[in-house]
């Protein structure tokens, strides 16, 4: 993008300043991730010894973990206090169910809000907007009680079943997308004699696939990262999710085995980082649309 009326030298200086600022920002945002990886491949002794007083040497020891110590990962995976395979499976099952539930139910409701004509859909839309603002804490105690009556405390049901009842944020997101789809496509199908469910499944779901993917990814990651839900509803360690287990692991180790803690953290965030790199464009487009057309 070239802007008329600007002097060349001013442009150059500004570019240089921007470049320096960007580098500084990149260091700030990457340093914790680097430090996490760095600590996870050290021995406990290396991580905890006081740094040498010689500045150059200190920086060298701080930045380069040598010799590489990969044993921490094996220790974490074999640790009886952090059964990572079990927690990973628990987390994955919940996150997949949450993604499926959110995509299916929010898509149906967004379709009803935008493409079907019926009394009350305007009220329903306002209800969607209002319920997005409610803090979880208002519902926390009564929901706990209701789930207790059903005998669901200690199971993963409270963590995924509600998402089959159309989380409002995802309805809103899909609605924005449905509004961009022309009605003519639907009318042609009506003339061909297709029923509303068929129209939804055969026309709308394929057309809204990019937005559905956004909902799937967002809800998956939100579920993977959820902390307060598992903290409230899960009672046995064998049902724990990764986020909850990580917090438990930290308090158990009480600041002792930082190397193991960091190795565990790497394993917890790795799937999210992988998903992000596989679907970076979808994430960024999804977040951009929530803010712009809202």
């Amino acid at each position: 993008m070239s802007i008329p009326g600007q002097k060349h030298s001013v442009m150059l200086t500004r570019r240089l300043l921007v470049q320096i600022a960007l580098l500084a920002v990149a260091v700030i945002y990457l340093a914790p991730l680097f430090w996490m990886l760095d600590t996870s491949v050290r021995t406990e002794h290396q991580a905890m010894t006081q740094l040498p007083s010689n500045t150059g040497k200190a920086i060298q020891t701080l930045l380069i973990p040598y010799p590489l110590h990969v044993g921490n990962y094996r220790k974490v995976i074999e640790s009886p206090f952090f059964k990572i395979q079990l927690y990973a499976r628990n987390t994955l099952v919940i996150a997949l169910l949450v993604a499926i539930g959110s995509m299916l139910s929010a898509s149906l409701v967004a379709y009803a809000l935008t493409k079907l004509r019926w009394h009350g859909r305007q009220i329903l839309f306002w209800t969607v907007l209002a319920s997005m603002m409610l803090p979880f804490s208002v519902m926390m105690v009564p929901l706990y009680r209701i789930y207790r009556e059903f005998g669901w405390i200690g199971t993963n049901l409270p963590l995924w079943l509600p998402t089959f009842f159309a989380p409002p944020f995802y309805i809103f997101l899909l609605r924005q997308f449905y509004l961009t789809i022309p009605n003519e496509l639907m009318e042609a199908a009506v003339i061909d004699g297709a029923g509303p469910f068929r129209i939804w499944w055969r026309i709308m779901v394929p057309l809204t696939r990019p937005a559905l993917l956004v909902v799937g990814l967002f809800s998956f990651v939100a579920s993977w990262n959820n902390f307060i839900g598992p903290l409230v509803y899960l009672t046995h360690q064998r049902t724990f999710t990764l986020a909850l287990a990580l917090q438990f692991f930290q308090t158990r180790h009480g600041g002792v085995a930082h190397t193991l803690l960091m190795a565990a953290t790497v394993l917890v965030v790795l799937p999210i980082i992988l998903i992000f790199f596989l679907a970076q464009k979808t994430f960024i487009r999804g977040i951009a649309t929530t803010g712009i057309k809202g």
Partner: protein
């Protein structure tokens, strides 16, 4: 299908059927819990025994509950400082990331990635980063502290400050962050800036939407740099700023994960936040009635602040 034709019974039923997941959800997961929570907020309730009606006692007792008042104050402070700070910081980042640059997408990825990580992981990583003895933050801060302390102690000497002051300045040390009651809140506020990636993305999308012609005509009028930012970019972005402001206010009043994992509210009650105390009162002290009362106060505060934001929006948000 004309817009004015009457809605048939069949259409009405089909509409309701497709909307039913949300309608049922609102009834089961919203209306019932909300009414129950409202009722419990006037009860002595431990969940082990049936609720006993106590009137407004739960609410009046909040006024003399020091831990509650502290958590209210802390959350106010956090919200008032962190929301504008995060807005300004993410806007600045968006401007930087919008500048033409060969590595632009790499930088965008770097800033965005941390916002996707579980907050528990963020908390665990940063606790280790900020470890006063072994963390890299204080290791690198000790150099600027040394220089600044040296200069300041010379100035203090010149102004005949007390020897004690000169001594502390000369041995200026980086803060203890989470371990220091005076710094813990500042630390949490600063850390929340590490996760602003999603706000940045929304700002970037907003910047993308500013029509290029506006910049061109501004340039013809001689408006460059700061003036262009002030009179073209900012007004065009006010809807996006408003959106991020509302989201920021709502989220700031619910902050939980980060302080819960990092400090558990400490040292003392320096980082005890509203949602944390609510959780503690409900699920650890089994004062479920009090927890519900707190939740309703929280809801009203959030509603009030959002209403004020929407009301003020008429004065400063420019919709195209």
């Amino acid at each position: 299908m004309s817009a004015n034709s009457r809605i048939t019974w069949r259409q009405q039923l089909i509409g309701l059927a497709f909307a039913s997941p949300f309608i049922v959800g609102v009834a089961l997961l919203l209306v019932i819990p909300l009414s129950l929570s409202f009722y419990y907020s006037f009860c002595h309730y431990t969940m082990l025994t049936p609720p006993i009606w106590v009137g407004t006692k739960n609410y009046t007792q909040l006024l003399s509950d020091h831990a509650f008042l502290r958590s209210l104050f802390n959350t106010c402070l956090f919200s008032v400082i962190s929301v504008p700070l995060a807005l300004a910081w993410s806007f600045l980042l968006a401007l930087l990331l919008n500048a033409p640059n060969r590595l632009r997408n790499v930088y965008r990825t770097i800033v965005f990635l941390p916002s996707l990580l579980p907050l528990v992981a963020t908390a665990v990583i940063w606790r280790w980063m900020l470890s006063p003895m072994h963390g890299p933050v204080n290791f690198f801060l000790q150099f600027p502290c040394h220089w600044v302390g040296g200069i300041l102690s010379q100035i203090a000497l010149a102004f005949h400050a007390s020897p004690a002051t000169v001594h502390t300045l000369r041995h200026l040390k980086p803060p203890l962050w989470l371990a220091d009651g005076k710094w813990a809140m500042t630390t949490i506020i600063l850390l929340s800036l590490w996760g602003v990636g999603q706000t940045v993305i929304i700002f970037l999308a907003g910047l993308d939407d500013v029509p290029l012609e506006l910049y061109e005509s501004a340039a013809l009028d001689g408006a460059m740099g700061w003036r262009r930012l002030r009179y073209v970019t900012l007004p065009m972005l006010t809807p996006v700023i408003f959106f991020n402001l509302v989201i920021g206010i709502i989220a700031s009043w619910q902050i939980f994960d980060l302080p819960y994992v990092m400090t558990h509210g400490g040292p003392g009650r320096a980082t005890l936040f509203y949602s944390m105390y609510l959780f503690e009162a409900g699920f650890q002290q089994l004062r479920m009635g009090a927890a519900c009362a707190m939740a309703w106060v929280q809801l009203i505060i959030i509603l009030l602040l959002t209403t004020i934001a929407f009301w003020s929006a008429r004065k400063w948000v420019h919709y195209r």
